[in-house]
Amino acid sequence: MSRRRVDPPGSALVRLRTASRRLLWSLLRPHRRALLLAVMLLLAQNLAGMAGPYLIKIGIDQGIPALTGSGRDATVLAVTAGLFALASAIEYAGKRGFMLLYGRIGQSALLDLRQRVFDHFQRLSMSFHERYTSGRMVSRLTSDMDSIAELTDGGLNELVVAALSVVSVAGVLLWLDPPLAAVTMLSFPFLLVLSRWFQLASARAYRRTRETVARLIVHFVESLDGIRAVQAFRREGRNEQIFEGANEDYRRANLTALRSIAILSPGIMLIGNVTLAVVLTYGGYRVLHGQLEIGVLTAFLLYLRRFFDPMQQLSQFYNSLQSATAALEKLADVLGRRPGVPEPPRPVALPRHRARGQLRLDNVQFGYRADQLILPALDLVVPAGQTLALVGTTGGGKTTIARLIARFYDPLDGAVSIDGVDLRHLSERDLRRSIVMVTQENYLFAGTIADNIRFGRPSASLDEIAQAAKAIGAATFIDALPDAYRTRVHRRGGRLSAGQRQLVAFARAFLADPAVLILDEATSSLDIPSERLVQRALRTIMSDRTAVVIAHRLSTVEIADRVLVLDRGRIVEDGRPTDLVAAGGRYADLHRQWLNSLG
């Protein structure tokens, strides 16, 4: 272990590398049989390739004398040539088979890795995503994957070929002529030192390229997604400066990495060439003194090429490997994070097939940071079917309560339950089928409007989608679009206004048909006619399910059965809206202000 500790900064890095190595192995494990077969094909290819120079030696040392000799015997030469052709054919078949097999292994491992990382990202909690940022997630799943993919283009073959060459060529050389072989092996220590240096230098450099490229990607994606604001506020110049900085950092990191390979590769060549010169001179003397056949020397020189050329290619592979390892480290780090809001190993089923929707918060304590409690201790029971409105100033804890009920976060203490089952014991499937939250964010995915509504229930037919849109009052504007439900939208929304997107988001939630519906400021960007439509629809939608509504427009609150007024995480008023207005407390104040604002 201590022998492996190569990086001074210490154990964290070592752990990272162990994790990335473990990840690599877990990806290759399912393919170990195929991998073995691939290595065997490779061995066949290389043994056949190796036979070449030896056959040439026989051709020169025995075939030619036999031919020039008295018998003019061409058999030796013919057999040698035939064997040579056979060896070539085996080499061809071995190479082709290997490439196909290896490509298949590499590509399916890559597919597996992609999916694993993607799924894991999806499982990680909101608090993780808020810190990690989408740009870095994109970077992990694109650029990092690219550098791992490079490994599948070419790779293992060089490694195996080189290992094979070193061992077998050394063996053949020893067998051909031990003294010459000994001279050749003098080069080994030099090779070892050189590659060790490279390992250290490039690992550091490639780690840095992964970090710098992530920064570049984050800035790139963010500034293009916000291009409206960038252009309207003439941010282009400053952005360009920032991008140039990130671009330059990335260039430098890459330069350091690529320069280490620019030293390694000619370095190996130098060692090889010096060895060649020494072998040639020494071998020449030995031939001269009759200690060595000319054919042997020729074969020796050819073998030397077979020895150092793969090393050359190995250095390329080594380079890709170092780059991929740096990427694997980043991915292993992501895969190593445990979801903050984990799914239970053995989920509890809801009492009935479909949730009724009774919500209960018992002594719930929560804060995004441990030193800042948003909810000190909240107790709340929402009977099934009730429409509950949360009202209060910013920082009162309305959104936090909504997020806890939707299980975006888990409470620090206490429990949130539906129909008597703690949310932490529910399967993801049951939880999400029962509770759905709509926020003002109304994100639309790249795809058609129908796709976006279908997101609420992937099995829904086009007819059901149209019905959901109709129920929510979105059908009118959708039908007016050039391609109606097949109109393509994406994040920036294209042509849709914020209100229209909000209507799509509502239709999505309507289609999902949950037992508990949470609306967090979901109506704020609607204009009055749309809100009127939605209001009417909401009445129908909420009549047979539990609803938790946060809205500063009291028109939405007025349809609630019950209103909670929150202040710093505590309930200060609780009752029917009409009762609260009559009681003349805070809610009554808000209500008056609101009526005034209607003008």
């Binding site: 989408s134 694109t142 999400r432 209607l598």
Partner: protein, 566 residues
Amino acid sequence: MGWMLALAFGATAALIAVPLVIRHLVDGPVRQREPGAIPALGALVLAFGVTEALLVFFRRWMQTASALGMETAIRHDLYRHLQRLPVAFHDQWPSGQLLSRATSDLAVLRRFLSFGLIFGIVNTTTYIAVIVLLLRLHWPLGLAVAVSAVPIIVVSKRVFSQYLTAARRMQDLQGELATLVESAAQGIRVIKAFGRHQHIGRQFAANARDLHDTAMAKTRVLASCWSKLDLIPNLTLGLMLAVGAIEVAGGRLTVGGLVAFVALQTALLWPVQSIGWIIANGQEAMTAADRVYEVLDVRPAITDRRTARAVDPATVRGRVRFERVGFAYPSAGSSPRSAVLSEVSLDIAPGETVAIVGATGSGKTSLVSLLPRTHDPTTGRVTIDDRDIRDYTLDSLRSIVGVAFEEPTLFSMSVRENLALGCHGTSHSALAEAIDIAQAGFVYDLPQGLDTRIGEQGHSLSGGQRQRLALARAVLGRPRVLVLDDPLSALDVHTEALVETALAAALRDTTAIIVVHRPSTIALAGRVALLMDGTITAVGTHSHLMATIPAYRAVLSATVGTEEAR
């Protein structure tokens, strides 16, 4: 480039020289038993070997820098270009597709520039040089080697056509995957809220599977080609050996000649084997360059006219006129261009505040987006102080016009930077004033005050807070013309009233166009324009329109709504 080639050729020459020296050694000192010449010839081999390694080192060292420099420069150009392309372009291009061009494709290009291109030239030249040498050594054998080029060309040609389609498809798929990843990352809240991991995971899987299949198709082409390119020179070598042996036996070739011949032929192995790799590399680079230029060749539709002039914002009075303006979004695919605005005329006096009211989809946002030239009108024109806004430089126009969008876009940087954006040297008092107007005093309570980094999309802020920051950004620097697109929708009634009071005072001598959804915000405006289906159908005061235009009442009156809803 010239340098690189010179170095590469030097290295190759050194590589080829070695077998010739070996021939001398074998046929000379070894044959003739003259040990004296061996050290000199050995030293010569050593010299050539060291030279080769040194030249390769210099080439790679320099080439790394130049290829990287090129990659970095193109990436920079690409980014600068993208920032200048209008919103209409970005509406059609997902940023994932652009990202894959700026990273994956440029890396492919760099690899081609640093290896493929050079080796393509060097190896072809080496190949020809060696064949010429072989022909001179022994022409029948040399000819046999030369003829072996024919099957090599045939194989290479086949790769050429098959590989190209696969490579292009692969790169496009990578872009699609990046887009999907991006939307999965940014829409994570919605995905979680609906528990749609598996749904989106399946989409990802299908996409990744496509990528896998395409990669396998590429592999198949390469496996077939590379193995053949191994086979052909090997068979040639075998043939040469047989014929060579006969020639030696017949005394027409020396043993040293044959050895040199074999050694030279092995020098051909790599150039031939590398052909497949170089072709693949070259084609990937071609498609990558195509994809990059596909974007770089898009001419920015919204640019400075040649007649455009910069103006000092202080001299602008702020009279805004829409003159028979029509607008249609560029058609996407098959759907016809449908007009969003037609014949819109509106005259706004300096310092006046006008509200735009209209139902969802009536074209309000499109109308106001014409002012900062986020889009250009298709017909008619928009003027400020009687000058077409296209005759102002973009930079000065956008310094005259301040905007707050329907959806507040915040970047992951400090509050201060988010407010200032492109405004250089914003004074502390100007910032404080803008924050004041927008009632965004909460920023002072953030952990590091104005220097607090607000998360991606301002995740840690509430919708109302984000909107107030966007408003503060718009009023910062007191633009002459202010465009506010439903800027207060996410504020609670109390805060909205405070913002309105502050805004009313600030707007006293600013020309303002405000898209309004609620009667509460109307108080800011002297006049209201009613937009219906892309045309202005009525202009007047709020009370007048309320009294006379039923359509206006339907759009704006909340009481009608609540009564109906009951």
